[in-house]
C-alpha cells in the first residue's frame, strides 16, 4: 500500500487526534482519582486537569480509612461490592461457559439442539429491562434476590449466547481426525469430549471465558434491580458515594471506577486477538 510521506504524516496525525479525543475521559478519571477533595469540583475557574496535590486518600477512603468521620455516606466500604462483582461475574461466567460450551459441542458434533442458535440470538437481542418484573418475581420466589449466586445465575443466562456461539465456531474449526482416532480405539464419546477435545480447546475456552467475564463485570441494570445490600456490585454501590458534606464524592467514584476498569482492560488486552470473534458471536475468525 501507500508509503508516501504525506500519507504517513496523515496517518499519524489522524490516529493521534483520535487517540487524544478518546483518552480524555479516561485520563480525566485517572487524574480525578488522585485529587484531594478541594480539587474535585469541576467548576470553571478552579478547573484543574492534573492533581496539584496528588493523594491516595480517595483509595483509602473507599476502603474505609476515612480522614474525616463526618462524611456520612460511607457505611459500607468498597471491599464488599468488589467481592460481589467478582463472585457474580466469575460464577456467571462459569455457568455460561459450562452450559454454552456443552451445548455448542452437542450441536457441532451431534447436531442436537438445532433451535439454540436462533433462540440464543433472540435472548441477546431482547432488552433485559422489559423482562425484569417477572425476573424479579421469580428471583424473589426462589430466594435469589440480593445474593451473588442469584446474580451469577442471571449473568450466566444472559451471556450464554456469547459462550455458545464462540465455542461453536471453535469446535467447528477443530479437525475431527484426533477425535475419530480415539473413537476407533474404543473411547466413549463422553471420554473423547472430556479427555481429548476440552484439553485441546483450553486456549479457546480461556479467551471465551475472559470475554464473557468482561460482559458480566460491566453490568449495571440487572444488579440494580436484583440486589439490595449484601451483594450490591461496584456500579450499583457507586451511587452511594455521595455525601452532604461535599456533594458527590467524585474522587472516590473515580478511584473505584479506576479499580473497576482494571480487570476488563487487562483481560481485553490479553485476549485482543480473540476479541473480534467474541464480539461478533464467533462469526469472524482470527
Amino acid at each position: 500500500m501507500h508509503r508516501s510521506l504525506s500519507f504517513e504524516t496523515f496517518r499519524y496525525a489522524a490516529i493521534l487526534t483520535f487517540l487524544a479525543l478518546s483518552l480524555i475521559p479516561t485520563i480525566w478519571m485517572m487524574s480525578m482519582a488522585f485529587k484531594p477533595v478541594a480539587e474535585w469540583q469541576a467548576a470553571g475557574a478552579n478547573l484543574t486537569w492534573w492533581p496539584e496535590n496528588p493523594t491516595l486518600d480517595n483509595f483509602r477512603f473507599i476502603f474505609g480509612e476515612s480522614g474525616s468521620d463526618l462524611i456520612v455516606a460511607l457505611e459500607r466500604t468498597a471491599g464488599r461490592p468488589i467481592l460481589a462483582s467478582l463472585l457474580a461475574a466469575t460464577f456467571g461466567t462459569l455457568i455460561a461457559m459450562v452450559a454454552g460450551s456443552a451445548a455448542a459441542y452437542g450441536l457441532s458434533r451431534f447436531g442436537s439442539g438445532g433451535n439454540l442458535p436462533l433462540a440464543l440470538i433472540q435472548l441477546r437481542i431482547f432488552p433485559p429491562m422489559a423482562v425484569m418484573i417477572p425476573v424479579m418475581i421469580m428471583w424473589a420466589f426462589l430466594g435469589l434476590i440480593d445474593t451473588w449466586w442469584g446474580l451469577a445465575l442471571i449473568y450466566g443466562i444472559v451471556t450464554m449466547p456469547f459462550s455458545f456461539w464462540l465455542m461453536k465456531t471453535f469446535f467447528d474449526d477443530m479437525p475431527r481426525e484426533i477425535e475419530d482416532a480415539a473413537l476407533v480405539e474404543g473411547c466413549s464419546r463422553w471420554r473423547v469430549f472430556t479427555r481429548i477435545t476440552l484439553p485441546i480447546m483450553r486456549p479457546a475456552l480461556a479467551s471465551s471465558g475472559l470475554f464473557v467475564f468482561i460482559l458480566n463485570w460491566s453490568d449495571y441494570l440487572i444488579a440494580l434491580l436484583l440486589t439490595t445490600r449484601d451483594w450490591v456490585t461496584i456500579p450499583v454501590y457507586m451511587a452511594s458515594l455521595s455525601s452532604s458534606m461535599t456533594g458527590q464524592l467524585y474522587g472516590a467514584k473515580a478511584a473505584l471506577g479506576l479499580i473497576a476498569a482494571v480487570p476488563p482492560v487487562i483481560m481485553g488486552i490479553a485476549i485482543q486477538k480473540q476479541l473480534v470473534r467474541g464480539l461478533t458471536f464467533g462469526a469472524l475468525k482470527e
Binding site: R11, A14, F18, L19, S22, L23, I24, P25, T26, M29, A43, G44, L47, A102, A103, L107, R109, F110, G111, S112, G113, L116, P117, Q122, F126, P127, P128, M129, A130, M132, P134, V135, I157, M160, T169, D172, R176, R189, I214, W217, S218, L221, I234, P235, Y250, K253, A254, L256, G257, A260, A261, P264, V265, G268, I269, Q272, L279, T280, L284, E286
Partner: protein, 311 residues
Amino acid sequence: MTEIADIPPPRTETPAPPDREAARLGFRLTLPAQLLVLFIAVFPICMQIYISLTDWSPLDGIPWWRAHELWIGLTNYSDLASDFRFWGALWRTLFVMLVCVPVQFFLGLGLAILFVDEFPGRRIFYSVLLVPMMVVPAVAGYMFFMLFQSGGPVNDILSAFAGRTVSIAWLSDPDLALAAVIIADIWQWTPLMFLILLAGLVSVPKDQQLAAVLLGAGWWRRFRTIILPRMKTIIIIALAIRVIENFKIFDTLYIMTGGGPGIATETISVYIYKVTQQELIWGYVAAIALAILISLSIVSAFAIARLRRGS
C-alpha cells in the same frame, strides 16, 4: 488470517449416521442450555401475557397471580397505541441509533483503513484505542456527567479552541443533553466498529489486491470493487451488533441524565425503567414488553432469513 463463518448454520452437518450414543450425549450436552433458555423464557413470557391483560399494579395490594381481578382485556395495548411518551421514547431510541451507528461505522472504518498495514507503533496504538470499550459503562456515565458540566473539561477544551470562555450547559438543555449522550456512546463503541472492520479488512486476500494494483487500479477503485464486496458480511455483522446493543441503551445514559431534562433523553429502556419503578403500572409494562418482544422477533427473524439467503 480472518475469515467469515457461515452465519448462522442452517443446521450443522451431522457427522456420519448418528448412532444412539451420539444422540444421547448430544441431548445431554445441550440440555443445560435448553433448560436455562426455557427457565428464562417460559415463566416471564406467560406471566407478562397474563398481567398485560390486567390493570395490575403492586400498589393494589394483591399478589400478581390474582391480577385477573383487574381484568381489562386489551386496554393496555390500545393505551400503548396512543401513548405519546412510548412513541417518543421509541423515536428517540431510533434517532440515537441512526446517529450513533453510522458515525461509529465511518470513524471505525476510517481508523481500520489506517491500521490495515504495518507501521511503527501499530500494536500499542491498537491496544490503547480499545480502552474505552473496556470501561464499565456505569463508570463512563459518571465520568461523562462531570465532563459535560458547564464549567467542566469539555467546555474547557472548547474554550481553548474558541479563544473565549465557553459555558454550554450540556445536560440542562434538551437537545444538547441528547448530543452529550450520543457523544458518550460514540466514544465508547467506535473502538468496537474499528476492531471488527479491521479484522474484515485484513481478511481481504492480498494477492487479489496486488493483481488490481498491477492492472493500474487506484486505491479508491480497489477499495470499492475488491475490498468492499468482500467485507459485506462483516459490515452487516458490525452494524447488526451495534444496532442491537444500541437499542438497549441504558447504563451510561441513565447515569448521565436519568432520561432528562424532562424526557429529552428518555429511550425505550429508560422509559420502561421509569414506568416500572416510579409509576408502578406493571400490567402496562408487560404490554410494552410483549409488544417489543413480538416486533423484535419479527424483525430479527426476517433479517436472519434474508442474511441466510444472501450468504
